[in-house]
Each structure stands twice: as C-alpha cells, then as structure tokens.
Point group: C2
Chain length 799, copies 2
C-alpha cells in the first residue's frame, strides 16, 4: 500500500467560484424546470397552473449534488485538458445530467430540435418524463452516458470497466449513498486491486452522501466520520472530505470542492507518474472524494409545515400539488427565481457567458466524450482462422474421438488475446473459473490482472493482465459492460447455475442495447458474450446447488432483437459459434458448452454449415431412406442431450433396424421461434420440413423442457412434440445418473420412441423391457461401485 | 460507536489444548476419509487401491479450517453453556461439518444407520458424494445447518436473520475469503447497524482467510494486515486476529484460537450486558475473528513436485490419482496416519473419551441445536380475522369504489405486527420501499430497525423495530431466509423488477425447501412470502429500467411442490391471499399486487371463495345466458389486466350486446398447469369447463404473454388461446399508455375479440374501427396533455 504525498492543492480563485456557482445555479434551475414546467420556461411571466405539467415526475433530491459534481468536473477537465467521462450512479437524477448536457451544447448537437435557446429550453422541460418524450433517468438517450442507474449497484464496476486499457482516461463515478448499500457496489470497491496504473486509466469515485434513500437515512451517511474514514481506507482509498450544509454559503462549498478535486487529481497524476515513469509497482492508495451535501439542496426547506430539504421528503417531487395548490405554486416560483435566472440566461434563453465560462470544449465535454459512445472507437477484433484450432474429425467416423470443447476454444482465445497485445481491447472475465473452465491457454498470452501482493507460489498473476477474476459475478459483469460500452471486446466465462446472480444486470444491459438500437447516433458496440460451462449435467463435485439451466429462459424473455442463445454440441461447433459471437455487435450472446470430454461429431466445415443453419438434420446419425418421411424425429440441443440422442439412435438401429429415424440437432435455440417473433426464427415451412408436420418428435434438451414448448407452441406438429430435459432433480452423483434421474438418458429416449411411434408398442415390447432393465442395471451398479457402468462411461457412438 | 473494554481472556489450559487437538485431528481424519475411502476406514490394514472410491469428489481445502472452528466452538459452548449455532459459509466443506456431526453424535441420532462406530464410520465415508449417498456440501441433509453454502454470498445475512429476535442465541458465522469477495457478502457486514443488542442475539463473524479460491489468491488475504484491520473497523467491527502457518505447532494455534474465542465472547457478553442492564444505546463495535490458516492445512505439502498445502491446489482433492498411482496411495495413507487415528478411535471405531471431552451435550451441540431445525420452534402466526380490514363492496355494484390494495393489506400487517409484540416472531423486510409500497400502517405497531445515529427529523426508526429496510435486496432476502429457517415468520416487500436481483438466492432457498420436504426430521417452516408491488404497469417515475415481470417465470421453473404465484386483482382478494400465504408452510409464495388505486371488485366472501378456487368465472362481468357456451372468453390475471378486461367487457356489452362473453379471472397462476405438473393444477375437465373446449379465449396477463402458453400448451383449447401481456415495451409514460403500447388495453382486447370470434369481422367492422380511433385519440391526447384521457383515468366499470 503506497501513499503518494501531494502538495496542497490550490483550488479555484474567487472569480472562478463565482462562475462555477453561476453554472451550478443554471443547472439547478434547468433541473427544476424539467420536473415542473411545460411552458413559461424563463419565468417571463408569473407562474400559472397551466404552465405546470399535469403529472409531476422525476427525482429532485439527488439533482443539486449531481449538478455540483458536474460543474466541478467541467472546471478540472477544462483546466487540465482531461480526457474524462463520468458514470452517474444516481441515474434517476436525470434532470441534472440532461440539464448539463443542454448547457454544454452536446444535447443540442445530438437532438437539434432541442436548441440551446428559449424554444429549446421549453422543449427540454416539456419532454422530460412526458409521453413521447425522454425517460426520467439518465438513459441510453442521454448524451455522454454509458450507465442507466435505475437499478443501482453497478456504477463503480462500470467505471472500472471503462477505465481498463484506457490509460489516458479519467472516469469519475458518482456513487449515491443509497447505491452504496447494494451488494454489487459494496464489493466493487475492491476493483482497485485490479486496476493497473500503467495500462489503465484512473477511476475517481465520488461518494455522494446526501443522507437519505426513498424513506430512510442511509447507512454510510450515519457512520461517524472516523468510521467512514476507516472504511474508505480499508477499501484501499485515501478519502478527501467535502461537506455542505443548508446553512453554508454555496461559495464556501464550491471552494472546498474545487480544492478537493484538485487534490484528488494531483494525487491521481502523481500515482500514474510514479508507476509509469518511476516504475513503482506497489499498489497505490487512490483518492476518493466523500461529498456530503443536503438531499434536495437549495429546494424548499419546508412544505406544508414539514421539513423537506435535507430529508428523504426531497427524494422525488418536493412540491406535489403545484397545479392545485396556489401556495405550492408560489413556493415553486420563489424556488426557481432563487437561482436568479436573469443572471444565467439571456432573454433569448441562451446561457450567458458566465454560465459557460468554466466549461470544456468539443469532445472534452462530458456530454460529448467519444468513450461514452463506445461504438465510435470500436475496432474489429482480430479473430484468427478457425482451421488452426479445429479438431480433426473423419467425416466417415463421427464420434471416434473426444475433446474438451472449452479447452479447444482456449486455443482460439489465446490467439485473440495475443493478437490484441498492442491494441489492448479484449478481456476475459470470470469468477475464478477460467482455469476450471479449461481456458488456461489464455495464460500463454496474458496474465490475470492483480495489483495486490503476490507470493512465489502464485501463477499467472500480472499487473496489466487481461484475464480478470474475482469471486463476484456482479463485478465481472459490471467490468465487462463498462469495457464493452466504451468500445472494446470481451467474454464472460461463468458457471451456468451462478450466472443467475447477474439476471438483473443482464436485464438492464439488454434494455440498454434495445434502446440504443433505436438511436442512430449511438454506434453499435461489441456483443456481451457469455460462455456458460460447468453446466447442469456435470456438477460432479457440487451437486444440486450448482444445477440450474434457467438463464436461457431468463434471457429469452427479453428483447429478441438483442438476445441469442447457442448450444454447440461439440468442439468444432463451439469454435464456429465463438467466431460468430466474438465478431457480432449489439447482442447478448449466451453460449452453453461443456468442459468435459465430448465426442467430436462434426468437421470444421460441417460445423460451420450447421451453425449457419442453426438447426439441421444429421443424416449420418439417422436411418432415413430419403424417400419416405421418417417414423420418428430424435431432436437434441446441448452437448449431453446430443450424446444421449446419438446413443439412442444407435440403440434403435441395433434393436429396431426397420425403424426410420431422423436426428435433428439445434445449435441456435431461437431458430425454433416463429420468424415474426425473433430475427432467427424459422418459417413454418422450414420447421415442418425439419421436424415433419405429423411424426412424433422426441426432443432431448439441455435445460427445462417446457422452454422448448414455449418456443414451438404455434408449430404444426407441436402436439407430437415430446421434450425431455432437466426437471430440477439433482444431487452429487455420476454424470450418467444425472441424465437417468431426469429421464434424459438414451434408454428412456428409446422407450419414448417406442411409446410414441404408432404400432410399435406391442412389437417392440421386448426392446422396451430391455431398456428398462438397462436403467435398473445402471441403478444397481452405481450404488455398488460409485461410478458409471463402463459401457456408458466409455461408449463410442460409431464403435 | 462504542468500544467495550474487555479483560484479557484466559483461553485454554494445556490439557484442554491437548483435547482440542485430539478433536481436531479426529475431524480432519474423518474429512479425509470421506473424500477418499469406501472401505478400511480405520486403516486396520495397509491402504489398497480397492479401498479408494472410483470418483474422488469433495473439497479438502477449507475442511481443516472449518474443523478448527468447530472444535473451538465446541469448547466455548460447553464452557459457557451457550445456546449457539453456526452458519458455515464455505458449505462446500461438507466433509468437515459432517465429520463434526458424526463426532458429536447428532448425525447418528438423525440417521441411525450411520452409527458412531466402525460400521457407521465406513458408511459415513462411503456415502459421501456417492450415488444414492449424501451431497458433497453442507446441505439440508446435514444436521445443525440452515445454510447450503454452495453458491456463496449469503452466510452473514443468514446468520443475522437467525440472530434477530433470539436474544439468547449466539450465531457464529464462518466467512470464507472467497465468499467475502461476493457482493451480497460485502454489503451484509452492515447488518450490524440493524442488530439490536437488547432484543436480538449476537453474531460472531469468523473471517477465515485460507488465502485462495479455486485458482487464485483472495483479495482480503492479500491485504496488508493494517488495511484489513481498517476495513473491519470501518465495517463496525473490532478485529481479533489468529494466524496459523504450515510451520506452526498446531497447539500454538489452538492456544491463540482459544484466547481469541474467549476474547470475542467476553466482548459479546459485555456488549449485551451494557445494553440490557445499563441501558447503553450507542452502537457497539462487535468483535470479528480474523482467522488465517493454510488452505488444506495438514494435508500433503507437495504432490508430484508441486506445492499443494497452503496453495489453491488444495481446493478440492489434493491427491487425484490414488487408485492408479501407488505413490499417491502411499501419500494418502501417510497423511491419514499423521492424525494418529489410534489415539482418536477405539478398535470398535468409537471416538475415544479425549476426542469427546470438550464437546457440549444434548441440544447444545451444534449438530443438534433446535434453532437449526426451525420448524421445531415455529408457532402459529396470529393472523386476525380479515373482516376488520375488508373494503366494503356492494355485490350489486362491483367496481363502484377504489382502494389501494397494498394500503389495505397494511392494516392487516399492522395487526399481525401488533399481535406478535411479545412473541417477536414476525418481520417485514424490504429495500427501503415499505412506505413507498403503502404499508406504512406497520409503523403504528413497530419501528424500522436502526442502530446507527438518528436525527430529530427521522421518523419511525427504532432499536428493535421489526421492519427492516436496507437498499440491498440480497441482504433483505438473506435476513428473511435466516429468520424463517430458524422458525419465524415474515414478508419481503419489493419492487417487482428488482426482485430479479435475488433470482439466484431464491433458487437456492427453493432447492433447500424441496430437499427438506423429503427429510421427515426437518420440520416445516413458514413460507417465504414476496409481495411484489410497484409493478411493471405502474412505473410512472422510473420507466423502462423498472419494468420487468419475469420473476414469475423464473420461479415457475422451480420445484412445483414449493412454488406458488398469486395475482390478486383487488383489495379483498389480496387480503385473502395474504391470509393464506402467511399461514402456509414450506412454500415460496409470490404475490403480485398493485399499490395504486384499484377498483374493488369482490366482497370479502366472494374474494375468499374466488381465491379458494384460484380461478373462476365472474358471472356479473360477462353476458352469458347460462345456457349456451359463450362466444368468447375474456380471461385475466393481474390487477391492471383485470381492469382492462372488465373495461373491454363493458365496451362489448355496449357495442356488441348480442355477443355472449364470459369473464374468467385467475388468481392462482399454477391452476393453469396440468394437475400432474403442479399440486394446484386443474384437471383437463375443469380447464375445459372454465375456458371452453373450443371458443376463442382472449387472455390479458400481467407479465410476459408466452408464460401463459407455457402453462397451458397441453390443454384442449390451447389453439384458440390468444394472450396479451407485457412485451418488453416500456418507458416513462402514463399508465394507460403503457397498456396501449403493449396491446393490453381495452380497445385492443375488443379488437382481438372481433378478430377471433367467427363471423364477427364484417358485422363488427365499425366497432373495430371505433376502437382503433380511440387508440389514436389516446395517442394524440397524451402527447398534447401529458396525461391520460379523463375517461380512461376516471373510468368506472359499472357506471
């Protein structure tokens, strides 16, 4: 832990303070205006009820604090010519960030109809939280933002993600004291053990304690200052405190804030200098600004006899009945006039020079920094030709060899990592599972980011490494989102069951992507790619708690234009899918693949063709004559189901050779959806051609079986579709026992075929009995021997 | 912040240390045996390959540390006659906790076939991670546990939940340094601001730094000790450090650990005494034990030339090839014999007196404490008669009045809270939304738990209050789970969208409940009840980020014997549902209800009858003649869809009076499932009677429409089922605009009826056009006025 001594920062001159205050007052005025007014924006006439919106929506409480931070960021950015962006954790304070973007001109550049004059101001006010207007939060529509901040919890991990591999960038991050109580935020402070002062930019957390959430005080605001100080230091930071109270002259707070910002940035500069120029490697103690200002500062002190400013009552709309209550109306007018708008805006509504004096210019403005519109900076990811990594498969002998698919993928990822050594725009994140998931080839190309202490026994830890592991799925997700949103590429490798931990985060990212697709000025960014391995069928060490394939169901509820789900059944199909998803844009791609040895079914060329179709017949696996319709379709999606289906097909060929069986494999799950419901959806004609309009379909699926029904319920042949999958029956047991317990095993599939193909029941009764016997034999064997029957464990499909 | 001075603790005598070490060695021996052996448990003959399990599964790394903690908890429990339980965060260290339960006899009392002798030891070893045996983790099957610990993150919030309202209980909680990196754990440290030393028991966190996760060092283990110390102090704790290294004599570590435990418990006692006897109210600084011991301590130092003990390589099975590799076999035997089993177990396999000397007796044993089998302690919740709270409805005039359903529920909850003033076994948790969700009547009966600083402007904060609010859904969920698992009652009130934050936690709780239902010795506990309000249709302030009804889909993927989902459409149905779920056992109940004014449809008696059926025809709303089948069924589930369906029925009555319309409301969503898939599922005959076998059904549903298809795809009339719901189209807009955007509005529903009832298309074309016009009129109006058309906002169904 390294403390960098810093000189006493100088802060701002009195004249600067006056200008900063003008900017802050202007932003506050504009924030209030957005919440309340639909007319008379400059208060050129006395406020009347009809100037007031009929529905008063928005969050005033956090806005003056956000405005204060924005004002002071403007100052230091301009003064130091910083390349800077800001993550606004209290994103529900939309009025503040919108006000500032309008003031710095970036809003008008993005939305020319909201001009920086009186008509534009009127439009800015009216559109806020208005039907057909703009959301009340900092949203994708907001220039300069990569962060919605509605849900809370992700501000700091987003900020770190943005700073990684951007050595010239400063990422300020406002953390509300409400957000600070969330788990994801609480652990993301430790990101400072992963940020390299040489290769990465700086994150400046600004912990904004306005004291209250919706209806309660916040925990951190009610800690004695020494305890909070210990907490910040224990989290690896040097706290710099700034406090404003309702009784303070704002100019004094501006003065303190200016000194604090200068102190913090001097310290950041000193840390970077010592690491970059002097080669110091000890982990530095980065600054954090702890800013205490009253909730709803400068708003009404009291309303209807109850204190509002500096209490939770200032959270949303302090004066709630302005249209109906003349007292409230008068109070609102007095409040707005307290900012002295005549000193801030000309008669034409344009901000006066004083207001704009301390602002940066051009792309240095927070509303215009290109990092906050990452697609502008995105480069192609150099994905090498797959031939280098493909496993060899004799097309005449599919299933003759086995590989661990994720280990094969590791080779590809190694070379992508290697090829981005200079551009440094690719990272792999995961909760301590990269090696467990057999991707350790990556460590030949880079290390694991680690700035804390290292010991001689450690392996692969490296300052500036681009694999990032922390046992927090939330932090992994937040880092990667921040990294992607600022124009880079990445992959999140995760245990399948525990990716549910970030269900809510991925919701928000999908929502973000969905909206950005409607905004031409937002350029496409790289997709968020999940590799889910250590999946439900192979939790040999861990059992029931680690068995859950429901993330697929979760994402398939979301925007179909954003979501893709792939279940590659072997190594070469995984390569082909990986190649596709790594090159794609604006998607959330979920790839589920095994890390255990898996039969190699397809050559690389076959794999590419199969993945391009997304679903198709594996002729070599079936027994169709190519003339008649088959008697039955055996369909599969997922590596383990594919193995069981092929084993079932093999058993059918042996025991019921006269049966005509078609084997269909589905890689791209959305292919099953109707074409009008998903861009990858099949037409009914395609679906009927693949699954037949009237033959029984026995479908072995990786996850919850009813998902397949939910995707296919409109199809002609849905009545004849019978799905096997994971039925939430799990424990610590053998791999084959897992499929038996869930009725997904080869024997059960053969029994299903016999039960469903008309006319087979009597004729094939002995075969059915044989299958039952095999299941019982399995059952007895594993209880005696503790391992699967050798014939199952070593089975070869085409042996 | 109050520091309690404590005398120097005395720790253990030399003789005690010898006995403690014997117990520890015995537990270590038993842990290794479980991972490796299926025979020869006492090593009465040289170890041979056939004694070794064919699949070596489990986690050795954390086991010696857990054993150390267990040994020392035994000592202080016995010495101080403590009522204590322990939450084992590193629950994957199943071998350790199982070993200790076997040693203290609780295992054999629970599972008599695993006797505390040689045959029982053989069974204990063999069953571990063996097909048909026991899971590798601390699981529901493990006596003395309320915590699975597979996913990691919830140990400390579970521990606090257990301690609440149990003033005589000590809850020790082992937190692994891996788990400490998770977000949920990181913020749950702040639970100490909510624990009241008078009314609640004590939590003793034991932060166990063994240095490594699966493949990496841990963040906290690599902090310099002063920084970690600051962190613990900043989190409100007094750290007590104990360190063992591979070079230390274990007796020295035992000595230090005994002093640390005594110091910690003296401090706990002093805190409780000063609060309870002296009336001190200042928040105390609770102790935390920071225990550093090597990962895989006492295991193989090196394997195949690589260091194992004290590295991540000790995480699972240190010697991986024991059956195949004679060197590994020899190493294993030497390792097991290093514990000197001859000094620990008699020839009959029974633990010798030295091993058992320091253990507590009877229910004081950690494996036998009744708090860890909470159903044993559960009392009936005193739910008062609903008549007191019911809103008055004239059965001849349904929809004549409006109430906010959750506010009505608040009255009931207030009285439940009041009635449990002495028993203190009911709590309401939520992320700062109790008042926002209109449940503030609760504050007449209790306060909000708060031990931190209070200010004169604060309201309802109270030491010992039984409403708990922290802006962390994870912590709320963890507290409530811990509270329920130890035999109490509760309710989690949450925004609908953000309950996804705990998707993964509820998964684990459902899994836990599912397994406990198969264990007769686990007594039923109170259900985990969610009240999801501020739902998808009413996010006026917040917009798209707050709109997500997918939690219902998520839970309906899980064990049907555990999961229930209710969508009460008005105040009285909410009361009836609440009454039911609060009395229920072993379920996860999801109740989705509005907080906005809602029409009152049913009298209390009607509501009770309707909820008992779960789904039924609302004759008064339809136009059936009771003789013929209706032309169409309008079905609804959820408050907003019900309102729109009734409005549509009203429009149909007005515009197409000759049409025979049936209105069906569904409260209990699982009723739609087939009876063989859910205990609440309807028979096909019931379903056909309700929804007709062949008439068009237009179903307005609260959430994602395809969920209704997934529930009903096997029903006779599924082809004629047309579902409207939330299509992931959201923003900040008016309530009626939300339903219009998602095609759930009354006008669209009427159009759907016209489109689907045979023969209506031409005849009703003008009506259809009128509906289209109404939608356009709405569209223009809100863009002009910023609020809904008065006729929509003030519409009365039976006006």
């Amino acid at each position: 832990m390294r403390d960098i001594p810093a000189r006493e920062a100088e802060g701002a001159t009195d004249e600067e303070l006056r200008l900063l205050d003008a900017h802050w007052r202007a932003a506050n005025y504009l924030a209030v205006g957005q919440i309340y007014l639909m007319d008379n924006p400059l208060l050129t006439e006395p406020l009347r009820a009809e100037h007031i919106k009929p529905r008063l929506l928005g969050h005033w409480g956090t806005s003056p604090g956000l405005n204060l931070v924005h004002t002071h960021l403007n100052r230091v950015i301009a003064a130091r010519d910083l390349d800077a962006m800001c993550v606004w954790g209290p994103g529900h304070g939309g009025p503040a960030v919108l006000a500032n973007s309008w003031l710095d001109g970036s809003y008008t550049e993005t939305y020319p109809d909201v001009s920086r004059d009186a008509p534009g101001m009127a439009r800015l006010f009216r559109q806020f939280s208005f039907p057909g207007g703009v959301p009340s939060h900092v949203a994708p529509e907001t220039p300069g933002s990569v962060h919605e901040g509605g849900e809370l919890g992700y501000a700091l991990s987003h900020a770190y993600g943005a700073a990684l591999d951007n050595p010239g960038l400063l990422v300020a991050c406002v953390i509300g004291d409400g957000e600070a109580e969330t788990g994801p935020l609480a652990t993301s402070w430790h990101s400072n053990k992963f940020l390299d002062p040489v290769h990465d930019g700086a994150v400046l957390p600004i912990l904004h304690l306005n004291g209250y959430k919706i209806a309660n005080p916040t925990v951190l605001a009610r800690l004695p200052e020494p305890e909070l100080d210990e907490l910040m230091r224990g989290l690896g930071h040097e706290p710099i405190h700034v406090t404003g109270t309702p009784d303070d002259d704002p100019l004094d707070v501006h003065r303190a804030m200016a000194v604090a910002m200068d102190t913090a940035l001097d310290r950041v500069a000193a840390i970077q200098r010592s690491a970059r120029e002097e080669g110091v490697t000890e982990r530095p103690r980065w600054p954090v600004v702890v800013l205490r200002t009253p909730k709803g500062w400068t708003g009404p002190a009291e309303v209807d006899g109850l204190p509002v400013e500096n209490t939770w009552r200032a959270h949303q709309v302090p004066l709630a009945s302005v249209r109906e209550n003349p007292d409230h109306l008068r109070q609102l007018e007095a409040w707005m006039r307290s900012y002295r708008p005549g000193e801030l805006f000309g008669e034409d509504g344009r901000p006066l020079p004083d207001v704009l004096a301390t602002m940066p210019r051009g792309p240095r403005r927070l509303g215009a920094n290109p990092h906050a519109n990452g697609g502008l900076l995105l480069r192609e990811l150099p994905v090498p030709p797959l031939e280098r990594y493909a496993v060899e498969v004799d097309p005449g002998k599919p299933g003759a060899t086995q590989h661990e698919p994720t280990r094969v993928l590791g080779g590809l990822l190694e070379d992508v990592m290697e090829a981005t050594t200079d551009s440094r725009d690719f990272r792999v994140v995961g909760p301590d599972e990269t090696a467990s998931n057999r991707l350790e080839a990556l460590y030949r190309a880079t290390g694991k980011a680690w700035e804390a202490e290292t010991l001689p026994t450690d392996e692969h830890l490296a300052r500036g490494g681009r694999v990032m592991e922390i046992l927090s799925e939330h932090t992994c997700q937040g880092w990667l989102e921040g990294y992607l949103l600022t124009g880079r590429h990445g992959l999140f490798s995760c245990y399948e069951a525990f990716v549910h931990i970030v269900d809510s985060m991925v919701n928000q990212h999908i929502k973000w992507l969905r909206v950005t697709r409607t905004l031409p000025w937002r350029r496409p960014i790289a997709s968020l790619n999940y590799l889910l391995t250590s999946h439900v069928w192979r939790q040999d060490h861990n059992g029931f708690s680690h068995q859950d394939p429901g993330f697929i169901d979760h994402v398939l509820n979301k925007a179909p234009e954003v979501v893709r789900v792939y279940l590659p059944p072997d190594a070469n199909t995984l390569l082909s899918v990986a190649d596709h998803v790594l090159r794609s844009r604006d998607y959330v791609n979920v790839v589920v693949a095994g890390k255990q040895p898996c039969f190699d079914w397809l050559t690389l060329d076959q794999a590419r063709a199969h993945c391009a179709r997304g679903a198709g017949v594996w002729e070599w696996a079936g027994t169709e004559d190519g003339v008649r319709e088959p008697h039955v379709v055996l369909a599969c999606a997922g590596d383990v189901p594919t193995q069981e289906v092929l084993a079932a097909a093999s058993l059918l060929r042996e025991h019921l050779p006269e049966l005509s069986v078609r084997v269909v494999n589905v890689v791209d799950l959305a292919r099953l959806l109707p074409e009008e419901e998903h861009p990858h959806g099949m037409t009914d004609a395609e679906f009927d051609a693949l699954f037949t309009p009237d033959r029984p379909v026995v479908f072995a699926y990786h996850g919850y079986p009813w998902l397949i029904h939910r995707l296919t319920y409109r199809r002609t042949n849905h009545r004849d579709l019978h799905v096997r999958g994971y039925k939430e029956i799990g424990t610590t047991t053998t791999p084959f026992d897992m499929v038996v317990r869930n009725d997904l095993d080869r024997y059960r599939l053969v029994m299903d075929v016999i039960d469903r193909v008309p006319g087979l029941a009597v004729r094939a009764a002995p075969v059915r009995q044989h299958m039952e016997d095999q299941r019982l034999r399995h059952h007895d064997w594993i209880r005696e021997h503790g391992a699967d029957l050798p014939e199952v464990a070593q089975w070869r499909w085409n042996a």
